[in-house]
C-alpha cells in the first residue's frame, strides 16, 4: 500500500529526469511529459480512491519507526489535493503543446513543470514538518525557473520580486521549524500534535505560530503579504501562469490548514481573533485590486488573492462545516482559476493582447470560446448552480451558524464585486465590438487554435459543471475530510500506531 503514497511523488520526479534526456527534441519532450502526467493522474486517482474507501494511509520511509524517520501520510484533504494537482498538471501539459515554444522546451520547460508538480505533491503528502520545508524548496526552485523561462524584461522584473519575497518566507518557515524543534524535540507532525500541548512556554509557542502564519501567509498571498503575486503572475507564459495560479498559493493554504489543525490544535485565542480579520481584508483588497485593473491576467491574479481570503475564512471559523467549505472551495477554485488563465491564453492567441482595451468581439467571432469563459468566470463569481456558488454558500452558512454576521456580509459583498470584475471582462473581451486596431495585427482565426489547448479548457469546464451539479457528493467528501481535520486523533493514530 505504501507504493500508493510514494508514486504521486516519484512519477513526476522520474518524468522530470527522463524529459531532460530528450530535451533537445521538443516533440518527444512533450509526449514524455504528457505520459508522465497521465500516469501521475492515474496514480493520484488510485490514491484518492483508496483513501476515500479506507481512510488515512501512512507509511514510514526507510522503515524508521514513526517519530524518528520521515512519514508520508495521506488523509482525505491530502488525497484530494494530490488528485487536483495531477489533473491540473495534465491539463497544463496538454495546453503547453501549443502554448510553449520549442526553444523554451529545449531550455527544460517540461522538466521544470514535472519537478514543480513533484514538489507540490510532496508537500501535500509529507507528515514531517522539516520535510515539508524541503518540498517547499523543491517547488520554489522549479517555480523560479518556470517564472523566468524565456527571460523577457517583465519576467525578470516579476521574477526578482517573486524570488525575493518567497526566499524570505522560507527563511521564516525554517526559523519557526528550528524553534519548534527546540521546544518539542520532534519534527513529526503527529508527534508534534501530542507534544505541543505539554509546552509550558506559551509565549514562545505563540511567537512560533505567528512565524508559521507569516511564512505561509506570504506563500498563500494573504492580506498584508500578497504584493508579490500581482507583480509576478501575469509575466510568464500562460501555461505557467495557469499552474501557478491554480496550485502555488493553495500549497500555502494547505500548509496553514495542516499546521493549525494538527500541530497548533491547542487553544490559541489570539490567533483566532486575528485570522477572521485577515481573511476579510484579504477578500476585500483582492477584489478591489482586481476592479482597478485593465489587463486580463492581472484581474485574474488579484482575484486569486480575494479567493484565498475565502479559504482562510473557513479555517478562521474553526467549525467543521467551515472547514468543509474551505476544502470545497480549494477544489473548486483550483480548477476554475487555472481554467480562466488557460482561456486568457486562447484570447491572446486570437487577438494578440491581454489588455482589455485592445480586445473585443470574441462572442461574435467565437461564441464557444465565450461559453468556455462564461462557465468558469461565473462559477468564480458564485452563480448557482455552478461550483463556486456551493463553495461560497457553505462558507457563508458556516459563518451565520456561529453568528459571525460581519464575516458573512463581507463574503457576500466580495462575491458581488467578483461579479463586477467578471462582467467587466465579459463585456470588454467578449461582448463589445472588436476594436479596429486588431485587424492590422492579423488576428488568428479559431481554426488556428490547437485542440491541445481547447481540450483541457473544455475538460476543466466540464469538471466545474459536474462539481456544481454533483455538489452533494463533493460536499459529503469535503465534510468527511473536515471531520478528519477536526479530529487529529485519527491522523496521529495512523502515523504513530496505537498510543
Amino acid at each position: 500500500m505504501s507504493g500508493l503514497l510514494i508514486l504521486p511523488i516519484l512519477l513526476p520526479l522520474a518524468g522530470g529526469a527522463a524529459v531532460i534526456l530528450v530535451k533537445a527534441d521538443a516533440r518527444r519532450s512533450f509526449y514524455l511529459a504528457l505520459t508522465s502526467a497521465g500516469l501521475h493522474t492515474m496514480a493520484a486517482g488510485l490514491l484518492f480512491w483508496h483513501i476515500h474507501l479506507n481512510g488515512i494511509l501512512a507509511t514510514q520511509i526507510g522503515n524508521w519507526p514513526a517519530p524518528f524517520g520521515i512519514t508520508l501520510v495521506a488523509d482525505r484533504l491530502s488525497a484530494v489535493m494530490v488528485m487536483i494537482t495531477a489533473i491540473i498538471s495534465l491539463a497544463v501539459t496538454s495546453y503547453s503543446k501549443a502554448d510553449i515554444d520549442a526553444s523554451l522546451v529545449r531550455r527544460g520547460y517540461y522538466c521544470l513543470l514535472q519537478i514543480l508538480v513533484c514538489g507540490i505533491c510532496g508537500a501535500f503528502l509529507t507528515g514531517d514538518i522539516f520535510n515539508l520545508y524541503v518540498w517547499f524548496e523543491v517547488m520554489l526552485m522549479a517555480s523560479f525557473g518556470l517564472l523566468i523561462i524565456g527571460q523577457s524584461k517583465t519576467q525578470l522584473d516579476g521574477g526578482v520580486k517573486y524570488v525575493v519575497i518567497n526566499l524570505l518566507a522560507t527563511l521564516l518557515f525554517l526559523t519557526a521549524i528550528g524553534l519548534l524543534y527546540g521546544l518539542t524535540g520532534t519534527l513529526n507532525m503527529a508527534d508534534l500534535h501530542l507534544k505541543v500541548p505539554l509546552i509550558a512556554n506559551r509565549g514562545l509557542l505563540t511567537a512560533i505560530a505567528m512565524l508559521f502564519l507569516a511564512a505561509f501567509g506570504i506563500k498563500g498571498a494573504l492580506f498584508p503579504l500578497f504584493f508579490w503575486l500581482p507583480a509576478a503572475y501575469h509575466t510568464p507564459p500562460v501555461s505557467v501562469s495557469a499552474i501557478f495560479s491554480g496550485l502555488l498559493t493553495k500549497v500555502g493554504i494547505y500548509a496553514l490548514i495542516r499546521v493549525f489543525t494538527l500541530v497548533f490544535s491547542v487553544e490559541m485565542a489570539y490567533f483566532y481573533t486575528l485570522l477572521p480579520v485577515m481573511a476579510a481584508l484579504t477578500m476585500i483588497t483582492g477584489v478591489l485590486g482586481a476592479a482597478a485593473q485593465n489587463e486580463f491576467r492581472r484581474i485574474l491574479s488579484f482575484h486569486i488573492i480575494s479567493q484565498v481570503g475565502y479559504m482562510l475564512m473557513g479555517l478562521a471559523l474553526q467549525t467543521r462545516l467551515a472547514l468543509a467549505g474551505t476544502i470545497f472551495y480549494l477544489v473548486h477554485h483550483i480548477i476554475v482559476k487555472a481554467n480562466l488563465f488557460l482561456v486568457s491564453g486562447v484570447v491572446k492567441r486570437l487577438q494578440g493582447s491581454f489588455e482589455l482595451a485592445q480586445l473585443g468581439g470574441i462572442y461574435r467571432s467565437n461564441g464557444w470560446i465565450a461559453f468556455l469563459f462564461f462557465i468558469p468566470a461565473f462559477s468564480l463569481a458564485g452563480f448557482p448552480p455552478l461550483s463556486g456558488f456551493w463553495a461560497k454558500m457553505i462558507l457563508i452558512r458556516a459563518s451565520l451558524d456561529i453568528h459571525a454576521y460581519w464575516l458573512a456580509f463581507v463574503a457576500a459583498v466580495v462575491g458581488l464585486l467578483t461579479v463586477y470584475s467578471m462582467t467587466k471582462i465579459w463585456a470588454e473581451v467578449f461582448w463589445k465590438p472588436a476594436p479596429v486596431i486588431n485587424h492590422a495585427a492579423e488576428p488568428m482565426t479559431a481554426r488556428n487554435i490547437s485542440a491541445w489547448m481547447l481540450a483541457p479548457i473544455a475538460a476543466l469546464t466540464m469538471l466545474t459543471i459536474i462539481i456544481g451539479l454533483g455538489a452533494e457528493v463533493v460536499f459529503r467528501f469535503a465534510f468527511q475530510a473536515a471531520e478528519e481535520l477536526s479530529h487529529p486523533e485519527y491522523y496521529v493514530h495512523a502515523v504513530l500506531g496505537k498510543r
Partner: protein, 132 residues
C-alpha cells in the same frame, strides 16, 4: 555560550533586516546571506551548545541523560545550507540578468512588470538563443 549565541543571532538578524530593507538589490543579497546564516546559527543553538554533555548513552543506563547536546539540528542545518547555497547561486544569476536587462539594481525603478502606462511587453517569447 547559549546567551552569547542568542545575542549574536539577534545582532545578525537586525543587521540583515537593515540590509534587506534597502532598495539596492546588492545590499539585499548581503542581507539575505546574513539572515540565512543567522537562522542556521539559531537552529544550531537550539540543539544545545554544550561540550560537557555529549549525546552518548552511558554504561548501565537505557537512555541518554537529559539535558544533552542534540546533534540532529546540525543535520537540519546541513540541509538548509545546501538548499540555501543553491538558492543563493540562482538569485545571483537572476539579479545579474535583471541588471543587464533592466539596467538598474534599484527596486524603485524596476517597474517593467507593473507599469500602468506602457503597454505590456510581449511575453513568452525568448529574447535570443544566447547563453542564459
Amino acid at each position: 555560550m547559549q546567551t552569547l549565541c542568542a545575542i549574536l543571532v539577534g545582532v545578525m538578524v537586525a543587521a540583515s533586516v537593515y540590509l534587506i530593507l534597502d532598495r539596492n538589490l546588492i545590499r539585499f543579497i548581503f542581507g539575505l546571506v546574513l539572515v540565512g546564516n543567522a537562522i542556521n546559527l539559531l537552529i544550531f543553538a537550539v540543539g544545545g551548545l554544550d561540550s560537557q554533555r555529549p549525546p552518548i548513552i552511558p554504561n548501565n543506563t537505557a537512555a541518554v541523560q537529559e539535558p544533552f547536546a542534540n546533534a540532529l539540528p546540525q543535520a537540519l542545518i546541513l540541509t538548509a545550507i545546501v538548499i540555501g547555497f543553491a538558492l543563493l547561486s540562482f538569485i545571483f544569476v537572476l539579479f545579474y540578468r535583471a541588471y543587464q536587462d533592466l539596467g538598474t539594481v534599484d527596486t524603485e525603478f524596476m517597474r517593467a512588470a507593473e507599469s500602468d502606462t506602457n503597454p505590456q511587453l510581449p511575453v513568452s517569447r525568448p529574447k535570443s538563443e544566447g547563453p542564459a
